[in-house]
């Protein structure tokens, strides 16, 4: 039977790619392991290897074709002894094309963009990143005196450019490295490979191997070395390939970086950033999916930042690099490829410790941060259609936590739902709920609710992974519950 060669997916999130080049032509004999073609994605060029043996009977997708969907038949191989021309004319056998399972997360990139949360073209009406969304029917919102107003971070009339979170983080590091000679980046694959997730792309080329340093796989060692360098006056940015691997190094982060200022009576501190992707990606299972927001937020002596938008990622990373304290900067692999409007300013910073009202509303406050915002915003959007107006507060910094902004919002709406991907027990949501009940008890019309990751290690199976993560439906349900709807 002729065999279809399908367009392969080379990463969990790839949906389509370019068929760049055929290395075999029709009529060529192929065996297992032969390179058939090259394909390109936004991140890389890869080779397609043959798995089956036979003769390349027909090429179905010509080289240099863009946007070839994963699993599209791209060629037909006639098996040994088979009639090549018959195989070629048979055409692809539709039955063999198995659909890829649905993306494991509600927050999968394509859907997020489609939902309109992420990719607003620069300069368009109320954007996801800058101004609150005004709802015509909403009553005027009074901002209580003294509460931080994040809309002032970007001066009116500033040009906005669309960029990914990945690019925004890179630009933040590059700008700070130009500005301050003591800033350097260190971690696994940050230099020659350009970053395991391509966040440090181009930094080696601009700053050289003295300041962009590939380390061996020795997290405890290089984290500690970074703390020592910070003691001695440098400003290290220590990249963890993911925060899961920072558990190897957590002793140095907490016992050395976080506590030394206090233990030395203020003489000596660690002005540095520990950064990298945190939390679940896609189907990478229990040891590669942990969300550490709550862990680090438990530790005095650290600052903990977890941005959602590209603008916040950039502005907060610049602030983190300048901060005289150790800052844990929690990124997210799924957000790296998301685009947002970012102000085009020479030196755009966002202060650490200040939340942002991402979307104004009157009926219920949803508090979230990082990728949790994707569930919160989609739920708010959906609820709007059902006549429930949600105010979505993006914490941006977990420690120090801006309870003022949260409390002011809850005083206005009377209801609060917290959303995070982390575990429920002793989570960030638990902290928010404590502060809200302490400071806005008389304003609450319902107990504070939370939507979190389930209380289980992250499973690998697609169906279980989906259940383990929060969902938009759970947020919608929680909001309705606190609104008694």
């Amino acid at each position: 039977m002729p065999i279809d060669v399908l367009m392969p997916a080379l990463s969990p999130t790839m949906e389509q790619g370019k068929l760049a080049k055929w290395l075999k032509k029709e009529g060529d004999t192929v065996k297992s392991g032969d390179i058939l073609a090259e394909i390109e994605t936004d991140k890389a060029t890869m080779e397609v290897e043959a798995v089956d043996e036979g003769v390349l009977a027909k090429i179905l997708v010509a080289e240099d074709t863009d946007n070839v969907a994963v699993n599209t038949p791209i060629a037909i191989i006639a098996e040994e002894g088979e009639d090549v021309s018959a195989a070629a004319s048979a055409g692809p056998s539709a039955a063999k094309v198995e659909p890829a399972p649905a993306p494991a997360q509600d927050g999968a990139p394509a859907q997020m963009a489609a939902e309109g949360m992420a990719a607003e073209p620069a300069g368009s009406a109320p954007t996801g990143g800058t101004e609150p969304v005004a709802r015509p029917a909403a009553p005027a919102v009074m901002r209580p005196e003294g509460v931080y107003d994040a809309t002032q971070e970007i001066p009116a009339g500033t040009e906005l450019v669309t960029m990914t979170v990945r690019e925004a983080l890179r630009d933040a590091m590059a700008e700070e490295m130009r500005r301050d000679e003591t800033v350097f980046v260190m971690g696994e694959e940050v230099a020659e490979y350009q970053g395991a997730y391509k966040v440090t792309q181009g930094l080696l080329q601009e700053f050289g191997a003295r300041r962009v340093i590939d380390t061996p796989i020795t997290e405890h060692g290089f984290a500690g070395l970074g703390v020592g360098a910070a003691f001695a006056g440098l400003r290290p940015i220590v990249e963890f390939m993911t925060f899961n691997f920072a558990m190897q190094a957590i002793d140095q982060i907490i016992n050395s970086a976080a506590k030394t200022l206090y233990m030395s009576g203020g003489q000596l501190g660690a002005p540095m950033v520990f950064r990298g992707p945190n939390g679940a990606a896609s189907r990478v299972a229990a040891q590669h999916s942990h969300d550490y927001a709550a862990w680090y937020s438990n530790v005095p002596g650290l600052k903990v930042v977890m941005p959602y938008t590209a603008a916040d990622a950039k502005g907060l990373l610049k602030s983190a690099i300048r901060d005289p304290n150790p800052v844990i900067f929690l990124e997210n692999e799924i957000l790296y490829g998301q685009s947002f409007p970012v102000p085009k300013l020479d030196d755009f910073t966002v202060p650490i410790g200040k939340a942002k009202i991402h979307r104004e509303g009157t009926d219920c406050t949803i508090v979230s941060f990082g990728i949790g915002m994707t569930y919160a915003l989609k739920a708010a959007h959906e609820l709007e259609g059902e006549g429930i107006s949600c105010e979505v507060v993006d914490l941006r910094t977990i420690r120090p936590m801006d309870s003022e902004t949260v409390v002011a919002s809850v005083m206005k709406t009377g209801r609060c739902v917290c959303v995070e991907e982390g575990f429920p027990q002793s989570g960030v949501s638990a902290e928010i709920a404590t502060r809200v009940q302490a400071d806005a008890f008389d304003y609450l019309d319902a107990p504070v609710a939370r939507v979190t990751g389930k209380d289980v290690p992250m499973p690998y199976a697609a169906n279980l992974e989906k259940l383990a993560l929060p969902s938009v439906a759970e947020v919608v349900e929680a909001v309705k519950a606190v609104c008694y709807r």
Binding site: L6, M7, P8, A9, L10, S11, P12, S32, G33, K43, A44, T45, M46, V48, E49, V51, V70, N71, E98, P99, A100, P101, A104, E188, E189, E192, Y193, A196, D214, T215, P216, I217, T218, E219, H220, G221, N244, F245, M247, Q248, A281, S282, R283, V284, A285, A286, Q287, H288, K454, D455, V456, P457, P459, Y460, A461, A462, N463, L464, L467, A468
Partner: protein
């Protein structure tokens, strides 16, 4: 053939071979299995060669299938293929006994297959189905079989080294004569916990063989860019742990050195280090374009040192096995792998109630 393998491997890391020579006198290694010319190479019987051929081919075909299924979206997350390194686990398995334990990192499919784990259950774990070894909850990197004494399958680089040392500790504590085979990469060899383990293993004379699979790269970082001492067989010197470098592409050399190491550990003399000089043909994982090495380097390894091809040639040339017989074996193996793939795609996903099971006893 063995000579050629030595030359290429030496030449590609010239700093390394020079260092290896100058320090050779200080090395506690009992002998360098693969150093001699082809004539001195250890030999295998026809039956052993056939066994090795079958086992290595099963891994190769299994991995090719896994790669294909990943491309179809049937396998998610990270998937690290073992193609090119087959002789290491097959040779070590031939050198060890039933009841000896095996533990490794995330590049674990080959290790599981040689312990006799069912390809269906392994592949169904890769597709996240209920018939997988971890009921679909662990995936490619996290799989276990208590029955086969396979202790994982670990996603954190280096973590398996203390764990495997603990298996050896239990063997000695219980007074049985099992040996723990602990596999890890050249990259993992730089983790601090490896040396903490070496110290305890040597101090307490634990029955453990550390098999360092030096495939020259840790993701995109070559050994020469990450290791101050890139002769990993010497990494145990300060603890008094003997070590040797082995041509990990030659099943005979692996089997022979493996037997020596396992015997050393089993007889109560303590840990042993085997550095397997090997090579992975594919990228680090499915999403690695592997731009850090030349195509020429890869194709030279494949064409000149392929572990399976070496055995195939000997079977035909030295043992007069007809090519048809080998084709027959290939057919049987393809059948096993295709059946595994059918199972792994038709078996249902885990029941949703499994989300909350197995968290505590």
């Amino acid at each position: 053939m063995a000579t050629a393998a030595r030359r290429t491997q030496g030449a590609s890391a010239s700093a390394k071979s020079a260092a290896a020579k100058s320090a050779a006198g200080k090395s506690p290694s009992k002998g360098r299995a693969a150093k001699g010319a082809a004539t001195n190479a250890p030999t295998l019987s026809k039956e052993e060669e056939l066994h090795a051929y079958r086992e290595m081919l099963l891994i190769r075909r299994f991995e090719e299938k896994a790669g294909q299924m990943y491309g179809m979206g049937l396998i998610g997350g990270f998937c690290h293929l073992y193609i090119g390194q087959e002789a290491v686990v097959v040779g070590m398995q031939m050198a060890s006994n039933d009841g000896d334990q095996v533990i490794t990192g995330y590049r674990d499919h080959g290790h599981m297959l040689v312990t006799g784990m069912d390809p269906k259950g392994v592949l169904a774990e890769l597709t996240g189905r209920r018939g997988g070894y971890s009921k679909g909850k662990g995936g490619s990197m996290h799989m276990f079989s208590k029955e086969k004494q396979f202790f994982g399958g670990h996603g954190i680089v280096g973590a398996q080294v203390p764990l495997g040392t603990g298996l050896a500790f239990a063997n000695r504590y219980k007074g049985d004569d099992a040996v723990s085979l602990v596999y890890f990469g050249d990259g993992a060899a730089n983790q601090g916990q490896v040396y903490e383990s070496f110290n305890m293993a040597a101090l307490w004379k634990l029955p453990v063989v550390y098999v360092i699979e030096n495939n020259r790269y840790a993701m995109g970082t070559s050994v020469t860019r990450s290791a101050a001492q890139s002769d990993f067989s010497k990494r145990g010197i300060s603890f008094g742990i003997p070590g040797e470098q082995v041509d990990g592409m030659d099943i005979r050399a692996v089997r022979e050195a493996g037997a020596r190491a396992v015997e050393h550990a089993r007889s109560g003399e303590g840990p042993y280090i085997l550095e397997m000089l090997t090579y992975r043909y594919r990228g680090h994982s499915m999403s690695d374009p592997a731009k850090y090495r030349t195509k020429d380097e890869v194709s030279r390894m494949r064409e000149e040192h392929d572990p399976i091809e070496q055995v195939r040639r000997r079977l035909i040339g030295e043992f007069g096995v007809p090519e048809d017989e080998l084709k027959g074996i290939d057919g049987q193996i393809r059948k096993i792998v295709n059946e595994a793939a059918d199972f792994a795609t038709s078996d249902p996903e885990p029941d949703v109630s499994e989300l909350f099971t197995d968290i505590l006893h």
